[in-house]
Symmetry: C2
Subunit: 244 residues, 2 copies
């Protein structure tokens, strides 16, 4: 029996944002592998084996998924949002590089609605002009690189989507990020704090950057800093298409 | 009768990538407004009015959609991909700003799978680390700004997703973009040319940037330039999570 590995994105939370392609893959799976809260989002059924794991176990989890697929199982690795954006897909390819015997396995990556798109849609259209996405976690890269990217992103006048802005183990980074952007002249920019969009815990808050406080974000918050032209119309925030 | 306006993303092409949320909105619509090829993707049914329009008519189209909603119709404005990424959402908010009497209309933006996510999934995980998205069309912004952003994106070592790289009316820009990135020391970077992903015209090509030729892209191509650490494993391309 030939197994397979599918790396799938569950979207930001609402089941109405799971693509039919991903739903079909979940229906056909024998095994679901992923961070426990995401595995818990997959509907239960007879014969489906679940392999939840803790946060920060990405590489071990990827290896487990590949091993199961090599044993003939039909494995789906689940991430929230899109699996390719600060999620499990890169970890699976790292594991695959370490273990070339697994490279012949049938492998697919199924895209999903990543957090910044769901957040942007709820707020209006803050990503309607050029933008960047920066993971604010310094678990896997030096903080100096994050600082450099923030400064260059401000200079480029990108809208900036910040993933994983703040966690109990990294309380300082986001405060520093706001300082850097204030120092870079972005104090007047519109900032959107989008928490747990499309779930029952959803919360959306918009302020000028100079009034943003670190406590407005946690690990379930996606922060979007507008570009210099981003503005409000009624309750909405959007980036005009035209720049002169 | 109170009308409504929904701005929805149809995803990159495959119907299996349309979210259930968007499908439900299309089923409930009285009117579909959009660029003709996208309107044509919406299944026909009795009583559904279709309002296709030409390319570059975004603002007029947005006004038409708002006018129909103000008349009591349930209007869905369709874009391919995600409506907030270089698509119709910003144009609708611009029209809304011009005509404040429409700001009381019920309005929703429904996210979708944008082209860079579909392209990245097909190629592997080239957006697994920090990245940016740049629209290479200079219809609505000066080319000098695009050049500046490309240089800063290279300096920041972002992966770079390029939307609308090349069209018959703008044959030179993409060639110039490749030159700029070569000059910025990105010649060894992996470049992915992802054309019409998830459609019957799908084509995926990967080369080093120094070997990339302008003719490899057209208006249906999404180009992703990897960061300096992006590499291949088997037929896949991915950005490692860790940077030292």
């Amino acid at each position: 029996m030939t197994g397979s590995l599918t790396i799938a994105g569950l979207g930001p939370g609402d089941e109405a944002l799971v693509t039919p392609e991903v739903s079909a893959a979940l229906d056909a799976a024998t095994d679901i592998v992923g961070y426990a809260p995401y595995v818990a989002r997959v509907p239960d059924r007879a014969g489906l084996a679940r392999h939840p794991s803790d946060n920060r176990m990405e590489l071990q989890r990827a290896g487990e998924a590949l091993r199961l697929a090599a044993e003939g199982r039909h494995v789906v690795v689940v991430s929230s949002g899109d699996p390719g954006v600060f999620a499990m897909a890169s970890a699976v390819f790292e594991a695959l590089e370490d273990q070339p015997q697994w490279q012949a396995l049938p492998l697919r990556v199924l895209p999903g609605v990543t957090a910044m798109l769901a957040a942007a849609a709820r707020a209006g259209a803050p990503l309607g002009h050029d933008f960047c996405a920066i993971n604010l976690s310094d678990n896997l890269k030096p903080w100096t690189l994050i600082e450099k990217r923030l400064r260059l992103a401000a200079e480029a006048d990108f809208a900036i989507a910040m993933y994983n802005p703040r966690s109990p183990s990294r309380p300082e980074g986001f405060a520093r990020a706001l300082e850097i952007l204030n120092d870079a002249g972005c104090g007047d920019r519109v900032v959107i704090f989008a928490r747990a969009i499309s779930t029952s815990k959803e919360k959306l808050e918009t302020v000028r950057l100079r009034h943003a406080r670190p406590e407005m974000a946690d690990m379930r918050t996606l922060v979007i800093v507008g570009n210099s032209a981003t503005r409000r119309v009624g309750r909405w925030v959007y980036a005009p298409r035209q720049v002169r």
